[in-house]
């Protein structure tokens, strides 16, 4: 079983590596954005596993994005290898502060407090326009890598691979987290909180650790998204952005690591086509798909894939499917 999973993983990784050879430039751009968002969605999915919904993780996404923006606008720092760690650290730091408070809440309180805090950041980004650029946002210059500016026609390619490598690292880190005792306790949190405490662990500590990790992931995703898109606006912290992350986690399936990745890619394509065919009904499209998933396929796309894969496997092994 593990062998089969890692084989599928290898094939997927291989596809990502050779993708630039196959797909046109605009798809490469979508993939880069999807990989950046995937990291934040992974953070949201971690909480969903624990039975907690966060409508505020755009906050960390914005912290990361504005790290890149401020670095570019105020400090003249354009070095990707500097901005990325700073974004991750700031995301983790903000999460470490908020987590002190947030780890005490569950259920609707957790959701709404996250939402409230992200809306505070949104208001701040909007109102302190002399620092943040207000609704106009900040243009983020193409960052340098180790001091070199990538040649113009290779920028997209370079940052695609840059993001891909980081996405690989994040996937590995989160897998390790989920395989650790903390990861198992997080999953148990959705079922029964008190039994976790009976087994000698601290629920608050589990949530706190997850929160800090999720902040770091959000910061990373934000920096990378800012690099790719090249322009940031306060909407990065808006509730709709948070809702989008939750949507992607649900779409891909939050029970696994590949789920959010598939969700993030599917989402970028859905958005591209929805913009083309139903530009005024974007939220409605999201809502409808969400309803369908909740009512018909709660495991998301990944569960759908696993169901099909299991059926195929059974057929291949010659067992008739009832």
């Amino acid at each position: 079983m593990t062998q089969r999973v890692s084989l599928a993983g290898l094939i997927a990784a291989g596809l990502f590596v050779i993708a630039p050879l196959i797909v046109p430039g605009w798809v490469l751009f979508l993939l880069t954005v999807a990989l950046a968002k995937f990291m934040v969605v992974l953070a949201v999915a971690l909480f969903l596993r624990g039975g907690l919904v966060t409508f505020g993780h755009a906050l960390f996404y914005a912290v990361g994005a504005y790290t890149a923006g401020f670095g570019s606008k105020w400090f003249g720092v354009h070095e990707a290898l500097l901005l990325v760690p700073v974004g991750v650290l700031l995301g983790a730091l903000v999460a470490a502060l908020m987590g002190l408070f947030m780890a005490r809440y569950r259920g609707v309180f957790f959701s709404m407090l996250n939402l409230a805090l992200s809306m505070i950041l949104y208001a701040i980004l909007l109102k302190f326009y002399w620092i943040t650029g207000g609704t106009d946002g900040i243009s983020v210059r193409t960052p340098t890598l180790l001091g070199f500016v990538p040649p113009r026609d290779a920028i997209r390619l370079v940052y695609y691979y840059f993001t891909l490598v980081l996405a690989g690292a994040v996937t590995y880190a989160v897998q390790r987290f989920l395989a650790s005792p903390l990861g198992f306790f997080l999953k148990a949190l959705a079922d029964n909180e008190i039994r976790i405490e009976y087994s000698g662990a601290s629920v608050q500590r589990v949530i706190y650790a997850t929160y800090v990790l999720s902040g770091a992931l959000g910061g990373l995703g934000g920096v990378l998204a800012a690099f790719t898109v090249g322009h940031i606006v306060p909407e990065y912290a808006f509730w709709l952005q948070s809702g989008e992350f939750v949507f992607i986690a649900l779409l891909g399936g939050y029970g696994s690591v590949p789920g959010p990745l598939i969700g993030a890619i599917a989402f970028e394509f859905i958005r591209t086509y929805a913009n083309k065919y139903a530009p005024y009904a974007w939220q409605m499209t999201l809502g409808m798909i969400m309803l369908l998933i909740i009512l018909l396929q709660p495991g998301g796309l990944w569960a759908m894939y696993e169901g099909v894969a299991a059926r195929l496997r059974r057929r291949a092994e010659g067992v008739s499917h009832a």
């Binding site: 919904v53 409230a116 909740i294």
Partner: protein, 298 residues
């Protein structure tokens, strides 16, 4: 002194609307144990429907006083349509499921409602000011207010009183309390729990729609005000205690006055102030001012 009067009157007006909204949210939460994020969508829908009908009636040359009736009709249509529809079609399927799923479901409905409004009425703000200007103005301490503002407060107080009477003083209210305290036993003694759920949710939706229709003549209704309202009314019921009617009233007053204070002293950060109050109250008294401490289930 003049500023103080403005803050107090404005605060009470905000509180009146917030109360209508939050009491619906708290009612739904109390009975169904679901935080209905779509509540803000119903509120916005009520505001649009009321404005639309009132403008239509003015277009048709009907008597201006009929606009009040039109606003009420808009609220009733919205609440009585959206309530049973949302509850029967969607919420019913997720009772007893994980809280996360229930939250996500109502969030999805909010997204749909928000866009539905844009599709029906477009994105240009609409305003029917007739009901507000019709009643004339009154001067308090040198500042003039429309009587409509006081009508809002009166409507809110009467409605709140009626709701308390409904829950405490009628057979239906007693049945509702029974369902809240134990769903299964209620069913065992012959209460139609499903019907209570539908009626309670519809009642809650009606509160939201009424709040929307009532505020509509004082503001231009524009898309996108659904979400802020959800967070604000959540703040109100979190402060007052989830599921408590008195809590909603007190929370609404608290938030209403705080918001009025912020608007006059620190206008850029009116929202921040509300969230900060919520954070502080939840830090000090997580179950809210009127909430009961929940026994943890093993």
């Amino acid at each position: 002194m003049a500023t103080l009067i403005i803050i107090i009157v404005d605060g009470f007006v905000f509180a009146a609307i917030l109360f209508l909204l939050s009491v619906g949210l708290t009612l739904i939460f109390g009975v169904l144990r679901i935080l209905n994020i779509a509540h803000g969508g119903v509120y916005a829908l009520g505001a649009y429907m009321g404005t639309f009908l009132a403008l239509k009636s003015l277009d048709l040359g009907w008597h201006p006083y009929l606009t009040y009736l039109m606003l009420l009709a808009g609220a009733l249509i919205t609440g009585l349509l959206a309530g049973p529809l949302i509850e029967r079609l969607f919420l019913r399927r997720v009772y007893g499921q994980a809280e996360a799923i229930q939250l996500l479901l109502t969030f999805a409905i909010l997204l749909i409602l928000d866009d539905l409004i844009k599709l029906i009425w477009g994105t240009t703000p609409m305003l029917v000011s007739k009901p507000s200007t019709l009643l004339g103005q009154v001067s308090i301490g040198g500042i003039s207010y429309t009587w409509y503002h006081f009508l809002l407060i009166a409507v809110s107080v009467v409605f709140g009183g009626a709701l308390v009477w409904l829950v405490r003083g009628t057979r239906f209210g007693k049945i509702m309390v029974a369902v809240i305290s134990d769903r299964e036993v209620s069913q065992a003694v012959g209460i139609n729990v499903n019907r209570i759920y539908t009626v309670s949710f519809t009642l809650g939706a009606l509160c939201a729609a009424l709040g929307g229709a009532a505020i509509a003549p004082t503001i231009a209704v524009a898309p996108g005000f659904a979400v802020e309202v959800v967070v604000q009314s959540f703040a109100v019921i979190a402060i007052g205690g989830m599921g408590s009617l008195e809590g909603a009233a007190l929370g609404a007053l608290f938030i209403g006055l705080a918001r009025a204070l912020a608007i006059h002293l620190w206008p850029e950060f009116e929202l921040v102030v509300i969230y900060l109050i919520m954070l502080i109250v939840l830090m000090v008294k997580p179950e809210g001012l009127f909430g009961a401490v929940e026994v943890r289930r093993i």
